[in-house]
């Protein structure tokens, strides 16, 4: 017991978020060997019996746990009941949050021509804020005028075409950010 505690004290706090159904369990391993579940301290003694089988003891309560990692997370049998869990470390979560933020910050929307056409009129200017659904540019094709609208809100970063220019299908017209 002391040995495990001292061994654990060599590592830093490790935090994990385990999701089971819609519930989340924040599990923290502290350097002093204590463990917290959703910030409440718990007593736990886990021993491996064979590859997938474990004995789980907590405050005298004994459970047989069979656990297996697979592509989507963990499948566990706790006293025979199947439980599916997904897990994310604190680090993974921070990285994911940062990544999401970064993606949001640099999210570019390229407005492209849906068909070969002629630019009739550009309705926005560089630097202008637009909202989703706002008209950006009028194209003429088959003698019909079509208004191309913003699919998302943002700021006009670049306008790549001008009035009277023929455009190909899929050609970039405006870049929103």
């Amino acid at each position: 017991m002391e040995n495990s505690s001292s061994r654990l004290s060599e590592v830093n706090v490790a935090s994990y978020y385990v999701t089971i159904d819609v519930r989340e369990y924040a599990v923290k391993f502290k350097p002093d060997g204590s463990v917290l579940v959703n910030d409440a301290p718990v007593d736990v003694d886990l021993r491996r019996q064979d590859t997938r089988t474990f004995s789980f003891l907590s405050d005298g309560s004994s459970k047989k746990v069979v656990a297996e990692k697979n592509a989507d997370g963990y499948h566990l049998l706790v006293d025979g009941t199947l439980i599916e869990a997904t897990i994310e470390s604190e680090r993974d979560r921070l990285l994911r949050a940062f990544d999401t933020q970064a993606k949001t910050a640099h999210k570019r929307t390229e407005v492209r021509a849906p068909m070969p056409a002629l630019v009739v009129r550009v309705e926005v200017e560089v630097g202008q804020e637009v909202v989703a659904g706002q008209g950006l540019i009028i194209l003429e094709a088959m003698k019909m005028e079509n208004e191309i609208k913003a699919s998302a809100s943002g700021k006009v970063k670049e306008i790549l075409v001008g009035k009277g220019k023929p455009v190909e299908k899929g050609e970039r017209l405006i870049i929103l950010e």
């Binding site: 017991m1 391993f29 060997g33 007593d43 736990v44 886990l46 491996r48 405050d59 656990a67």
Partner: protein
Amino acid sequence: MKREIKKVLIANRGEIAVRIIRACQEMGIGTVAIYSDADRTSPHVLMADQAYRIGPAPSRESYLVTEKILEIATLSGADAIHPGYGFLSENASFASRVLEAGIEFIGPRPESIHTMGDKTEARKVVSAAGVPTVPGTADAVSDEKLVRDFAREFGYPILIKAAAGGGGKGMRVVSSESQLAAAFAGAQSEALSAFGDGRVYVEKYLERPRHIEFQILADKYGNTIHLGERECSIQRRHQKVVEETPSVIVDDDLRSRMGRMAVAAARACKYENAGTIECLVDKDRNFYFLEMNTRLQVEHPVTEMRTGIDIVHQQLRIAMGERLAFAQGDVQFRGHAIECRIYAEDPFNNFLPSTGTITHLKPSQGFGIREDRGVEQGGEISVYYDPMISKLVAHAQTRDDAILKLKRALHEYEILGVRVNIPFNLFVLDHPCFRSGEFDTHFVATHFRPELLRQASESDNTAAALVTAMLEDGRVHSTSTSNHNQNNSVSINGVGSKWKTRRLDYLR
């Protein structure tokens, strides 16, 4: 008429092949397995004395190919073939071909299979022997007056159903004369649009019907007995899930009357070997012959547990021309037996079949538990065959004890890699209507909803979360067990938590 059987070819796979191989081994009879490409390392192949490839995985190209089976039987020197259940077991021409090849068929004569395989013919034959069948019109009816006459004779409710039928289309339950005209016209037009055939039949509609069947044993000398009933009303889409014996509604008097009926039905088609007479029993305990299964039944173990008679041994002895060693009066019934089938299907998700490799399997054990299974850990549940993994049977002195034992065994059963219907089996065993015995074939349709399946307790979830985090963090090392056990574990002390033990919760 005695004939020695030294080697049996088992024309089947899975748990029933294993079951038959065991019986042969006990009797000192050699065994020949056949396997498809999907079954090269299946338990029945490992257990048998000889094994031969029969073809690719799809059963139409392997387990259903008569020619190949006969070829292998000749090649291996088998003097008998046991067909198991499913596949070719109720195929009269297969049985004929086996006999023509000079090989004993462990089952009834082809003529009996043929008679009982034709529903109309079967009804005719057993009716002539005085066996009650569900009253119905023998031919399609096109005149509304005939329907009305039928209802007046046998009473409402009646069932109008499409001759080309299936899936409830063109089917109407009529509970009074005022509904008759509309229902008759409706059923006819629905049948016409669904099947291109507007012909309909009429039969008596049984209210709250139960499915109760009788196990028959018959030797080649006309000795025919029954081994009591099996209650199989718990079905999902006509698939039996939980079977038990005795039935709570069958008392000694009903058992002896139904037993006599079952024996008469079997005799009517000159039946020999093991077979099953399936009946419907209505709410007033009137019983009607439904059909005969001319083979070994999936749920035969409950009868074996209650009578102590090994039905597969009996099949082999009968095939060898032995006389039944006991009479009807010698059959002793002891206690109560319940079986539930463990299928690879997800009860939380509309019973979607679940395929894949069984990565972990530790079956239940202990007094009063029997398991028949044809797949091991590492085995594959494929799309080619029935998704049944195992049959778990509990035998105890009373029905209540058998239920508790089976529940215990279901909780103890460990399987990972495929999803199984164990939560559904527990739902059935826990249901007040199952407990009280007040159920019928509509039980599942009436009572089951996925949200009623038992969910993991909070303490189980917390334990699962902790174990997941510890494994992910590498806090449990998989070093060899010869090392000091601290390498194998982590023990962390915190302030006492409030977890409660739930170990015996399910025994309430």
